[in-house]
């Protein structure tokens, strides 16, 4: 087990290295990262010079630095936890990322829990009562769910479930932007801010995961050990909860393990629509402003997040399935 985790961490480090190369080339080598800044009259020559030096584009004498040297110095900075300074915010990138991380972590946890619980419930129901009205409805809904883009749900929920609902009925169930109403920092207030963004993110994954859960549950229900469990005299409920569900979760956990990237894609849209002060909005802003130190740092941190999440789901999997004992 431990050695497996170590191996995963090592491959993760290799992946991370490869990502640094990709990011470095895309952002600073193929083109000039400062191109857009140079054209802006508001950015002074001094700032440009400072950036050129900070990102090792030019040396102290203003001479261009060779690519390899630039890369090595950049990775060296990275290794020391120095991601540079945002020229727009005039703050260290690490600080910006740290500030944006917690809001996105809330979305992530909310998304993961809501998607997982609902998908498992819907999928299990569909598998236990296949080809019934309920199953067909779930199947149709999931089809719509993963055929509609995330931003559709974002706008739909925001406008109809928050703005229109409040306008027509006067009830304010959900908030349309931000994490908390200033001066009313309570858990219910935070939850009603969180609800719509989480739902937005979860729709597509519920749709997809519930289909996985349904098909793996259908397989499991046909397994011999389910018959054994029934032959013991267990009730249907006990058979499903104790014997079927856990086995049916296994394929789903594998799928979830590679979906952290999908979450990040959805987070851009969701955080933009709901003005959520998280990683997604930080990145979009940085891209809009060509704030490349933030872009590069963000990409590295996001890759680490995707890798770590993959390792965590691996460990969870090995706890769920005793047949997997990595060694």
């Amino acid at each position: 087990m431990l050695s497996h985790v170590v191996r995963r961490v090592l491959t993760g480090i290799v992946t991370l290295f490869a990502v640094t190369i990709v990011v470095f080339f895309m952002v600073t080598a193929v083109g000039d990262p400062l191109a857009e800044l140079r054209s802006k009259p508001s950015v002074s020559q001094v700032t440009i010079k400072k950036l050129e030096q900070e990102f090792h584009l030019k040396d102290a004498n203003g001479k261009p630095v060779p690519l390899v040297t630039r890369y090595v110095s950049w990775v060296g900075d990275l290794a020391q936890g120095d991601l540079g300074t945002s020229f727009h915010e005039k703050r260290p990138v690490t600080e910006l990322l740290a500030r944006a991380m917690w809001p996105t972590a809330q979305l992530f946890l909310g998304w993961l829990i809501v998607s997982f619980v609902i998908a498992v419930l819907v999928g299990a129901y569909s598998a236990i009562k296949p080809y019934t009205l309920g199953d067909r409805l779930a199947s149709g809904a999931s089809f719509v769910g993963f055929s509609a883009p995330v931003f559709f749900w974002a706008v739909l929920f925001q406008y109809y479930l928050a703005i229109e609902l409040t306008r027509i009925t006067g009830i304010k169930l959900f908030y349309v932007s931000g994490m908390v109403t200033p001066g009313q920092d309570t858990i219910p207030n935070r939850l009603s801010h969180l609800a719509l963004p989480v739902m937005t993110l979860a729709i597509a994954t519920i749709a997809q995961w519930s289909r996985y859960e349904r098909s793996s549950m259908l397989d499991v229900i046909r397994a011999d050990y389910i018959r054994t469990a029934r032959a013991k005299g267990l009730s249907k409920w006990a058979v499903i909860m104790r014997h079927a569900l856990r086995n049916a979760l296994l394929p789903l956990v594998t799928v979830i393990g590679v979906e952290a990237g999908i979450f990040l894609g959805g987070a851009f849209v969701t955080e933009k629509v709901y003005s959520w002060p998280g990683m997604g909005r930080l990145f979009i802003k940085a891209i809009e402003q060509s704030d490349f130190p933030v872009v590069m740092g963000w990409l590295i941190v996001a890759t680490i997040f995707v890798i770590v999440f993959g390792i965590i789901t691996d460990v969870v999997y090995s706890f769920l399935d005793p047949r997997i004992r990595y060694d």
Binding site: P130, A148, Y159, I221, R222, G261, G265, I287, V295, I307
Partner: protein, 324 residues
């Protein structure tokens, strides 16, 4: 188990068909009989058929753009021969879907935008399918070190925060800047071939071990010949299914990029995605500007998914749909 009877729950038995590949002998020309089975299966699937019909209608509809084009195209304000129009008009006889924020006819933009969105979907699917098939069949057929390398490249791509890198590319890679349709197709294709490569590799790996491939190799057939004559025809079904589904994914991804403001530039040409970018801010004022392109995307993507599912069932009746 001696009896095929133990399932505690009833599930309909699927009819079995003769696997297509069993008929593809060495020198026998590839008859269309396996495909006629597939066609029959597909046409028996009503949902897929209806979806296909709707798709064809959507394509014809968006292609009919030139018919309407001389009618208030991108006219801002009043033009000779056109009625002076205001922004955010509701639907009317002149403007079937009303007008947008700068008084353009929404109906025309839906047609034009649909054309671009569907084109991007098809183009990305085509390019990424070619990349996926080449990499996947090479990897699966030759195995060994090449396979390991290519598959770790696939794993690497799959572990990237793809949307973020696409956004980065639109901003920092010189030739991909500016939001042209071409650059969007290139960016999307570059990050969309991995699943296909993996699927094709798996199929090729199993095909490689089939008797008739061994026989062909014994008979001295060249690798190229084996791949084109024996491997590719037999993975055509899987590739077609996966390619269809990737059209849907590409349409959604393009619209997401455009919605965020980094896809096809609205200044150049409308797409359903970039139309939504501006429309979402004015949904309270003019809901139709949101709903028209949104339904365009959803209906198209749903139909593509239905067709893909229908194809999958037609090629492999044993498959159970489990998302993508």
């Amino acid at each position: 188990m001696t009896e095929s009877f133990h399932d505690p729950l009833e599930h309909p038995k699927v009819p079995t068909i003769v696997p297509a590949d069993d008929h593809a002998g060495e020198e026998v020309p590839f008859t269309d009989s396996p495909f006629s089975i597939v066609r029959k299966r597909f046409f028996a699937n009503r949902a897929a058929l209806v979806a296909l019909a709707i798709l064809v209608l959507i394509v014809i509809f968006t292609m009919s753009y030139p018919l309407f084009a001389n009618y208030v195209v991108h006219s801002t304000y009043s033009e000779p021969g056109s009625i002076s129009v205001l922004p955010y008009q509701g639907p009317s006889a002149q403007h079937w879907l009303g007008t947008d924020d700068i008084s353009r006819d929404e109906f025309l933009r839906i047609l034009k935008g649909g054309q671009i969105s569907i084109f991007v979907g098809l183009a990305v699917a085509a390019v990424s399918t070619v990349i996926g098939v080449v990499i996947g069949s090479y990897s699966g057929f030759f195995g060994g070190r090449a396979d390991r390398t290519l598959m770790s490249v696939v794993d690497f791509f799959l572990s990237l925060p793809v949307i973020a890198l696409m956004l980065t590319a639109t901003k920092f890679v010189p030739i991909l800047k500016g939001g042209s349709v071409f650059s969007v197709v290139v960016i999307l294709s570059f990050f969309s071939w991995m699943i296909l490569a993996r699927v094709v590799r798996g199929e090729t790996l199993t095909l490689r071990e089939r008797e008739y491939v061994h026989a062909a190799r014994m008979a001295g057939a060249s690798t190229w010949r084996i791949i084109t004559r024996h491997v590719l025809p037999n993975i055509a079904g899987v590739v077609l299914v996966q390619a269809t589904l990737s059209v849907a994914i590409a349409i959604i991804t393009e619209s997401t990029l455009s919605f965020l403001g980094f896809g096809v530039s609205p200044a150049l040409t409308p797409t359903w995605g970039n139309m939504l970018n501006s429309a979402s801010d004015v949904i309270s004022r003019s809901p139709i500007l949101f709903w028209a392109p949104a339904l365009g995307i959803i209906v198209t993507v749903m139909c593509v998914n239905f067709v893909g599912d229908g194809l999958r069932d037609a090629f492999d009746p044993k498959s159970i749909r489990g998302g993508q």
